[in-house]
């Protein structure tokens, strides 16, 4: 079915209002079931043995004693997970990350697993597994890993993107480059040049719910998996592929998800749980501890970035250059490339060059974290932009407005922009009351912009009308933040019925066609689009049923305000038929009434945000308090404004934690020192003020309602907004994230990179 995705300017009756979400009561009463909340008769407890070494050869694993322990029903190693990938290296990397194959690549890497009748027995069994390690030299720092002589993490890797193609193994898996024009010529024309280096430490998405699943595989090779995930269809495909199961014979049900932010878009222990169940022939429940989540899932990259920006004294950027070095953990990936792509995306530049390096280190396999790779690049670029503005003597907002990308700008990553929202967010920031709030001693204000792509993807939706006229809306995108409310609003709007008559459910993989993962800010965008078309499909059927009942031509029937209406004067005697009446009659007019839609939603467009932040820095302790924060972002059309605001506020809070406190601390032994919430300090309630939000609605021409994805973009500006605010508050320019109290104190004491007086 071909759909016209283009925006139609319309008045909404209920889209844009704020009704209660359908899963609200379950979640406030404790009834909602998350990954670890379900159990099966006869289930076993699965536990995973993890490497205590950052890098080691595994010479031998002796599981014999563990297997003999009473109550142990299965013990597995990589021998139980044969390589079925047929040469697909990225699939083999996933398999190897789930269970080590002859070498441990990071502290926490899984090397074996057990399934036993209870946790105590499983723990005893883990202790009985004897692993013979040969410890190897390790490297955990991104710049150290690039030096000649650094321990090699993946001996098969040769740097891609370098000419001539190298023959020696390297920790640099690829070099990528984006840009256009002539940056050297551009720098020559500049009156002011700022060149600076920056570092950001590794952070974790920090979802409060650890990974958990309940796996059940039978001797016939059929299986079920209950799991907390951002994409149960993707998990099904990957698990089936790795285990050699048929996709249709593995039913995956998504539990309620207790936070994901990108970290639950990949499998970590699910294939292991399935393999344990297959071997034990009983259901196996695997729940990660918080320590395992930090050590052995997918944090984001730590980075090292150099930026150089030149501008004329009247405020026009003449050239911009960045070299970005991102560590991907122990397996090659694309995060450095992505950082290079996004780094200068906010600006209209004649001469720009961004070079990205993807580097291997002995750390966990990096996963996406909400607008992956963009926050670090934005930190470096937006900090530099502020410094250039200061040197020219121009207001930082005006400087950005003068150089902002607009329709017709050639993006730094290549294509030409259509209509985009960065200008409006900057103008809204300039005029926002926050800018006029008074600042007191030791306080400073900073602002920054951020950019992120938004995606569509494969989406499939069913809309079934019950015999009483209430509507079951079945979707396949996992609800991470309230999308079921928004989707119900959309279905109700299209059908012309009250919101309360729609019940939205996230279906399992056996009940619906493939749906892509909820990431890339696509949940409401894609499923919303599919819901619109499914509803219109159902309306087509409803009109046919009315025509049948009235015995008139269907062309004479229209749908209005939840009713079938007969057009034409000659049908004037026919009273309207409500949805309830048509539904009640459906058994006799052709059976159940439904609408269906599959769409590869694309054309999601790009998303911009501008943040303003006020901080107070205590010069004696280096402690930074955020006293005021404003998020301004373009949402296209806010279907349910509460949940759009929620995305803005949540993303900003994560950025604030990233900017001020959160970091992975590795010891000299290559082991993670702080795998817990006490020492990996995320923001708590008393750390933050109310976060003010301004939703701009510049319609996305590629969506019938104008919707843009909103979930990710607001994690991009905070690192730089806060760095700029700290710079103005304390008179020191911090170039190392997080800007924790010791770093700020150190900078104040040593006058590190003094930018200008507050």
């Amino acid at each position: 079915m071909n759909h016209d995705q283009s925006f139609t300017n319309q008045e909404f009756k209920i889209v844009g209002t704020r009704p209660p979400r359908p899963d609200g009561v379950d979640k406030v009463t404790g009834r909602a079931r998350y990954g670890a909340d379900v159990s099966a008769p006869g289930q076993l407890v699965g536990l995973i043995l993890r490497s205590p070494h950052a890098h080691a050869k595994i010479k031998k694993i002796d599981t014999s004693k563990a297997e003999k322990l009473p109550g142990v029903k299965a013990v597995i190693t990589s021998a139980d997970l044969p390589d079925l990938t047929k040469g697909d290296r990225s699939q083999l990397d996933i398999l190897e990350n789930c269970m080590a194959r002859g070498r441990a690549l990071y502290d926490g890497h899984a090397v074996a697993a057990v399934a036993a009748v209870d946790a105590e027995t499983a723990r005893k069994a883990l202790k009985l597994i004897k692993v013979d390690y040969q410890v190897l030299p390790h490297v955990t720092d991104v710049d150290e890993a690039m030096k000649p002589g650094a321990p090699i993490v993946q001996p098969h890797v040769r740097t891609v993107g370098v000419n001539p193609a190298p023959t020696k193994a390297s920790n640099v898996s690829q070099r990528t480059e984006f840009g256009h024009g002539d940056v050297e010529a551009g720098f020559k024309r500049a009156d002011v040049i700022v060149e600076r280096s920056y570092k950001t430490e590794q952070t974790h998405q920090g979802y409060i719910e650890p990974h958990a699943c309940l796996a059940s595989v039978g001797p016939d090779g059929q299986g079920e998996l209950w799991v907390t995930t951002q994409g149960h269809f993707t998990f099904r495909n990957v698990c089936a592929s790795l285990l050699g199961m048929d996709v249709a014979k593995l039913k995956v049900t998504s539990s309620e998800i207790g936070g994901g932010f990108g970290g639950k878009t990949h499998v970590w222990m699910e294939p292991v749980a399935l393999a344990l169940s297959r071997k034990a022939n009983r259901p196996v429940k695997v729940v990660m501890t918080r320590e395992e989540v930090f050590r052995a899932t997918g944090p984001t990259c730590s980075t090292s970035i150099d930026v150089k920006i030149g501008a004329t004294k009247d405020g026009r950027i003449t050239a911009a250059r960045a070299e970005l070095r991102y560590q991907d953990g122990a397996f090659p990936s694309i995060w450095g490339m992505l950082g290079a792509m996004t780094s200068f995306a906010c600006y209209d530049l004649e001469n720009v060059k961004a070079i990205g390096y993807d580097v291997l280190v002995n750390r966990p396999k990096v996963a996406a974290y909400r607008a992956p790779s963009a926050p670090m690049a934005a930190f470096a670029v937006e900090s530099t932009i502020d410094q250039v503005a200061v040197q020219i003597g121009m207001d930082p907002v005006d400087f950005r407005i003068k150089n902002a990308a607009k329709e017709g700008t050639r993006a730094s990553y290549g294509p030409t922009y259509g209509p985009i929202g960065i200008g409006p967010t900057l103008l809204a920031a300039k005029n926002h009351p926050h800018m006029k709030a008074p600042l007191h001693k030791n306080q400073g204000r900073g602002m920054a912009c951020g950019f992120w792509f938004n995606f569509g993807g494969q989406t499939c939706t069913d809309l079934n009308i019950g015999v009483d006229g209430t509507v079951s809306l079945t979707v396949g995108t996992v609800d991470v933040g309230g999308s079921r409310a928004s989707l119900s609003l959309i279905a109700a709007e299209e059908l012309g019925i009250p919101y309360e008559k729609v019940k939205c459910t996230v279906a399992d993989t056996a009940s619906l066609g493939h749906n892509d993962t909820t990431e890339g800010s696509r949940g409401t965008f894609s499923s919303g689009m599919a819901t619109i078309y499914a509803a219109r499909d159902a309306i087509r059927v409803l009109k046919e049923r009315a025509a049948k009942q009235w015995e008139i031509d269907v062309a004479d029937v229209t749908w209005r305000n939840g009713r079938a209406v007969a057009l034409k004067a000659e049908h004037g005697n026919l009273s309207e038929l409500t949805l309830e009446e048509l539904a009640a009659a459906s058994p006799r007019t052709g059976g159940p009434i439904a609408g269906h839609n599959e769409v590869v939603a694309d054309g999601a467009g790009v998303s911009f945000a501008t943040h303003i932040c006020d901080v107070e820095v205590d010069p004696e302790t280096g402690y930074t308090k955020v006293i005021r924060y404003t998020v301004i972002q373009d949402a296209g059309k806010a279907i349910h404004p509460d949940y759009v605001e929620g995305q803005f506020q949540g993303a900003a809070a994560q950025g604030i934690g990233w900017a001020l406190n959160e970091e992975y601390v590795y010891g000299k032994d290559g082991r993670l020192q702080n795998p817990g919430f006490l020492d990996y300090r995320i923001p708590v309630c008393s750390d933050l003020p109310f976060i003010d939000t301004q939703i701009l609605e510049i319609p996305n021409p590629g969506h019938p309602y104008g919707v843009r994805g909103v979930g990710e973009t607001s994690i991009v500006p905070p690192l730089a907004a806060i760095a700029n605010a700290v710079s103005n508050a304390a008179g020191v320019r911090l170039t190392h994230i997080p800007m924790s109290p010791p770093r700020i104190l150190n900078a104040i004491k040593n006058g590190n990179g003094k930018s200008h007086a507050a």
């Binding site: 993107g161 694309i334 294509p415 569509g456 694309d602 990710e712």
Partner: protein, 81 residues
């Protein structure tokens, strides 16, 4: 005839060229013809490719039509979080 801009990591497969002229009306046709001409591009496409048409990025829809004279850019496939 479409003038396809190649991102830097793809240029090595096209002998260093920054853009390539291809006759194609859909994304599927475009990618097929590029692989016919430069077989080593297949590996890159398998790893993940996105196509920008007049500034709009398409990750999955191979049936997407390419209007005559559109600006077409091949980019790496971008994941979200």
């Amino acid at each position: 005839m479409i003038e396809v801009q190649l991102s830097a990591s793809l240029r090595e497969f096209a002998g260093g060229a920054a853009s390539v002229a291809v006759e194609a009306t859909t994304v599927r046709e475009l990618l097929r013809k590029l692989v016919e001409r430069y077989p080593r591009m297949q590996k890159r496409f398998d790893e993940g490719i996105a196509v920008s048409i007049n500034g709009e990025i398409f990750r999955d829809d191979r049936a997407q039509r390419i209007p005559e004279g559109a600006e077409v850019y091949l980019l790496p496939r971008i994941p979200g979080g």
